[in-house]
């Protein structure tokens, strides 16, 4: 209750003075009145005080209060001096607060289009000895253009971070890539999609191998803008002998191939038809049926019929896809939803 009361007192002050825009007019003189107002504001609404309110709110506050306090810090980050925010981030040891301060630095980067704000976040994501702190630093970047920022800054990217010994860090990598692809670019960005594929390839082997995370990434990432080289890499993953324990990963590769650009569809369809005959895993075969429908839309009707005798256990799936295709829906999301409505127990294609 006390925290909520403090927030209620501080909110009007920040709303009144916090979101002031910087240099929107090309030549705007800064008056002494504005300077003295800023000084008195700093006394009452210091970053330290705000962070303590946030810390208390995240610990004991209600869900809406937590959401409000998080958003408030990210909004204010645009007008705070970067050095002050960075120093607070570097001092912080609590993972919960590290995530919020990392998010504030990411918000500042997005508002000013300055990737340098992320330098300390990335350093910490690599170097901090506490895996929870490394993961929190990364989670703060969710929903920002982090792939582009990492490319501009050089040094580290998600293909290196996926090799972290901590599962929590690896999970943060996958969640960031999926959210960035879907929420920032709506699946249209080639660089993010190709980085996700490279990360999934990296997660398959080595001391920090995590096939389940690789499968999640490949199963959910958009591949609509990837280039021919990325498609070739995905196809090469299907060349290894089918390992029963990696059925989910192979199915995820198939789902990813189902979303490739039209210019790549002919060779992908050929390979998927071969795979349906060679791989007797039902998870993989179900994924192939969905991928073929996505790649061929109405043209998949005879293709599916030709595949029916190969595995009679999947006749219901083939019936459901054919029924969905006959509705004439022209968008994959609608078609997938219709198929799901007809046969709800089948795995949901992405």
């Amino acid at each position: 209750m006390k925290t909520q009361r403090i927030a209620l007192v501080l909110v009007p002050l920040w709303l009144a003075f916090g979101p002031a825009s910087a240099a929107d007019v090309q030549s705007k003189p800064s008056g002494s009145a504005a300077a003295s107002s800023a000084l008195s504001l700093q006394k009452e609404c210091s970053l330290t005080a705000q962070l303590e309110t946030l810390r208390a709110g995240l610990g004991r506050g209600s869900g809406p209060l937590k959401t409000f306090l998080r958003k408030q810090l990210r909004e204010r980050a645009a007008t705070l001096p970067e050095a002050e925010l960075r120093a607070a981030f570097e001092r912080e040891r609590d993972p919960m607060m590290i995530e919020e301060l990392s998010g504030a630095l990411a918000a500042r980067m997005a508002r000013h289009n300055e990737p340098s704000a992320l330098r300390s976040v990335l350093e910490r994501a690599v170097q901090d000895r506490d895996p929870a702190a490394r993961a929190a630093a990364l989670r703060g970047l969710r929903g920002s253009a982090s792939v582009e920022a990492m490319e501009k800054l050089g040094g580290v990217d998600y293909t290196a971070l996926i090799k972290d010994s901590s599962k929590e860090v690896r999970q943060a990598v996958v969640a960031n890539l999926l959210s960035e692809s879907a929420e920032v670019y709506f699946g249209h960005d080639r660089a993010v999609s190709e980085q996700a594929i490279a990360v999934a390839l990296g997660a398959r082997s080595g001391p920090s191998a995590d096939p389940a995370l690789a499968a999640k990434l490949l199963g959910e990432i958009s591949t609509e803008s990837v280039g021919a080289a990325a498609v070739t890499e995905l196809l090469s993953l299907l060349d290894a002998p089918p390992e029963p324990s990696l059925g989910a990963l192979r199915a995820a590769v198939v789902l990813a191939l189902g979303g490739v650009p039209a210019s790549e569809s002919a060779r992908v369809v050929r390979r998927l038809l071969d795979l349906y005959r060679q791989d007797d895993s039902q998870v993989v075969r179900r994924a192939v049926l969905g991928a073929l429908c996505r790649l061929q839309m109405a043209k998949a009707l005879p293709t599916l019929e030709a595949l029916r005798p190969i595995d009679l256990h999947l006749s219901k799936d083939i019936d459901a896809w054919q029924q969905a295709l006959r509705t004439g829906l022209q968008e994959w999301t609608l078609l997938a939803r219709e198929k799901q409505r007809i046969l709800p127990d089948a795995p949901q294609p992405h």
Binding site: S21, D24, A110, S144, E148, E183, F186, E331
Partner: protein
């Protein structure tokens, strides 16, 4: 008697379900975003919505101006990080469009597009001095200008699905002529 009534009821339910499915199948959902005004000036006001000047010909978009040209930043309107793809090549302008070079890019002038899912887009038109394609949150895209088919410096923003302009994104939040177009004021909730 009872069984006939039951059969009729079931039949009616089946028809309703089929109609509902057919209607719902035509819809494509998208994400609801928040759009703030594009000018960080208290004088910025909405001056056209569904109709030019709110009483003229069809417009179905928001025009926002503050009476200046090439002075104020033209802010990206969506709250959150998004990719603003630039379509430029028009010379800066503060006046009216005349046939030829001034009526550039089909009338849109220098403009920016955020491409969402399922055919949804959000556009901001008529910028002067565009800064290029950026992925950012409410950053400066350029300056408020009058490039393209425009009769004075302003921001034109619209929300389209498969090329058709929609009005619900601003009508649902009550934005109309005279509403503040300041960058701290929410003017709409476009779908992406």
């Amino acid at each position: 008697m009872k069984s006939r009534f039951l059969a009729k009821t079931l039949g009616l339910v089946a028809v309703c379900a089929a109609v509902c499915t057919a209607l719902c199948a035509g819809e494509s959902s998208g994400l609801a975003a928040t759009a703030n005004g594009p000018i960080c000036d208290p004088n910025a006001k909405v001056n056209s919505t569904t109709y030019y000047g709110c009483s003229g010909g069809s417009h179905t978009a928001l025009d926002i101006a503050n009476g200046t040209c090439s002075v104020w930043n033209y802010r990206a309107m969506l709250v959150g990080s998004f990719r603003y793809t630039q379509y430029a090549g028009c010379a800066d302008s503060c006046g009216s469009c005349t046939a030829g070079a001034g009526c550039c890019n089909g009338g849109a002038g220098n403009y920016f597009v955020v491409s969402g899912s399922n055919g949804w887009t959000f556009r901001q038109l008529h910028a002067n001095s565009p800064k290029g394609t950026q992925t950012c949150d409410r950053c400066a895209l350029g300056l408020i200008g009058s490039t393209g088919n425009s009769t004075g410096a302003h921001s034109h923003s619209d929300n389209l699905q498969y090329g058709t302009r929609k009005s619900a994104w601003y009508t649902t939040v009550g934005t109309t002529c005279g509403t503040s177009g300041n960058c701290s004021n929410r003017v709409g909730v476009p779908t992406l």
